[in-house]
Symmetry: C2
Subunit: 341 residues, 2 copies
């Protein structure tokens, strides 16, 4: 049995989507156990309308919520009755609780992971690693780090590459993931001092499949599986890609509404545009993980729907089933022996 702690609050549509997503996951996965953490008065009525195996779901009452306006570290320390704090407390104290899923404040989730969960031995910094769709169907791409560490050195990036490769393999079954270094050009000598140093390190890391530098414009082409970078530029890459998709799709939608002729045309192309919207929809791809944490932590988008929560839980389950954390610990230990990090 794999026990996963689900923070039931903190998202735009919580706790409804959290409850529904958890129930779906329980129906789908036989050896899954879920602890829903949140306001019992809100959770119980929602659960009462669902049918599921009651022996595998329990509710842990937490009357308070951490919001995006709370200061992350203070919130984790002081809001002891919040769903996220209680979820972390359970993850820390219960050796059977193997993973946590939340769609609450990203900053608080990062702070909680550092303060309550800690790092895998040898890991310098846990890193955010989200999954993005590409224009190639069924091909995803991941960015590591996408914002947990704004000040990085080259050794961190080497670890991001090692952890991210194992993650894509264990959670998504990608064999020998192609790892690229985010840079301002593809030539080996490009980049700032840190990036140049990282290039050398990555080139000499035997356990990864390093394919060289990648420019930001090529992210969605589906040619690489993992993009390694510092958390500042990774955050810029992630958010500008998301933002451009959103703004462009909105522009197209408005343009098609702007004349009678185009409205008719829009009806005929609608299903195709929905296919694209679906392809680019993060809800279908699972959450961002905090790689390097001592227990599995998955962060879903704040506006996640039921499917997204289900996918996050399934992702956490798969990571645990395939023992990602043990694999990372082993690989980091080997790497440090080889390079005397």
């Amino acid at each position: 049995m794999i026990k996963i702690v689900v923070d039931a609050m903190g998202g735009d549509n919580s706790p409804v989507v959290n409850v529904k997503g958890a129930v779906s996951a329980l129906k789908e996965i036989d050896d899954l156990q879920v602890v829903l953490v949140g306001d019992e008065a809100q959770l119980q009525p929602l659960l009462d309308t669902e049918s599921y195996d009651k022996s595998r779901l329990e509710v842990l009452h937490a009357p308070d919520v951490i919001s995006c306006n709370d200061k992350p570290t203070e919130a984790i320390k002081n809001k002891k009755d919040s769903s996220m704090s209680k979820a972390f407390e359970l993850l820390r104290s219960d050796s059977e609780a193997r993973a946590m899923v939340s769609i609450g404040s990203t900053g608080a989730l990062l702070a909680g992971t550092v303060l309550r969960v800690g790092r895998i031995r040898g890991v310098k910094r846990p890193a955010f690693c989200p999954i993005l769709p590409t224009v190639v169907p069924n091909k995803i791409v991941s960015i590591c780090d996408s914002g947990a560490n704004v000040d990085c050195d080259a050794l961190y990036l080497q670890q991001f590459a090692v952890m991210g490769s194992l993650y894509l393999n264990k959670a998504f079954g990608i064999e020998n993931p192609r790892v690229a270094l985010l840079n301002i050009g593809v030539e080996e000598e490009k980049g700032d001092a840190m990036t140049k140093e990282a290039y050398e390190l990555l080139k000499n890391t035997a356990s990864i499949n390093f394919v060289g530098n990648m420019e930001a414009r090529d992210l969605l082409k589906g040619e690489v599986d993992l993009v390694v970078c510092d958390g500042f530029s990774g955050n810029v890459l992630l958010k500008s890609t998301e933002g451009t998709c959103i703004e462009l799709m909105r522009l197209i939608k408005n343009a098609m509404k702007s004349s009678f002729k185009s409205k008719i045309g829009a009806l005929l192309v609608k299903s195709k545009l929905y296919e694209i919207k679906d392809l680019m929809d993060y809800n279908n791809y699972g959450g961002a993980v905090l790689l390097g944490a001592a227990k599995t932590v998955v962060k879903g988008h704040g506006s996640s729907n039921e499917t997204a929560i289900y996918n996050c839980i399934k992702q956490a389950y798969t990571m645990e089933k395939n023992e990602l954390i043990t694999a990372i610990a082993e690989e980091i230990r080997l790497a440090s022996e080889v390079s005397n990090l």
Copy 2:
């Protein structure tokens, strides 16, 4: 009379588009003088088919071309007969030559500017400053630096803000440009060490209209005029925005071709999609400038068409007409007096 040196080679469609763009600019602007630098054997036949005021255009023969595969600094130093080297040599030696336009290698253009043109007194680093469309019609946004300086300190960013603000005002008539700092969140305390320091500096720079931090996802919303950042993350921001637009438009185009129904629909929405393509087309917005260089240098996209070249020349002309370089020199001098930089 304002004399502008036009590198006629080095782009995907050179020298045809360079010649046509230059001729259009001469027809449009009465006090413009152009020196076309490139292979006379190719340029003269093209010019012979055009009608224009011959007293305001001359050809400077340069048989060689710098390509994107050449190492920038070596190319500028060693390929003395290349169009870009000769253009820089003219810009340097002829006091009447006030600006240069090129669609050749970006790296070589940067190297040439540093080696042959030099900086405005007091400017720490020249910075690339491209113009992007936003989803709001007639509103542009600029990024400074977009890749000239990968290793930056906070003082550079302060100068980028000052120079970029003057540029948007003098070249595009934007009053009191809104300046944002690229960051991983909008709160004041966000970011890496350099960004936090830059925030303080920008907040205390009286000559600019600083509106705070901006996340990468908001670039295209048209809410700010200038985004200030180090050249590494600026490059990521620029290229991921461009790349996402290109990949998404391609996806939409292919999807619409994929069924009979959607093909019919595509015919009806085609004109609206072209409007969007037009809105997002860099050819309509002019080139990137190297702010802080002692003479005006404008870099057009490698795949520029005739209109794009025309826009680059007009942009260089407007910058000179409005004496941008004098304004930057004055403002940098004042800023250094105030803050004792």
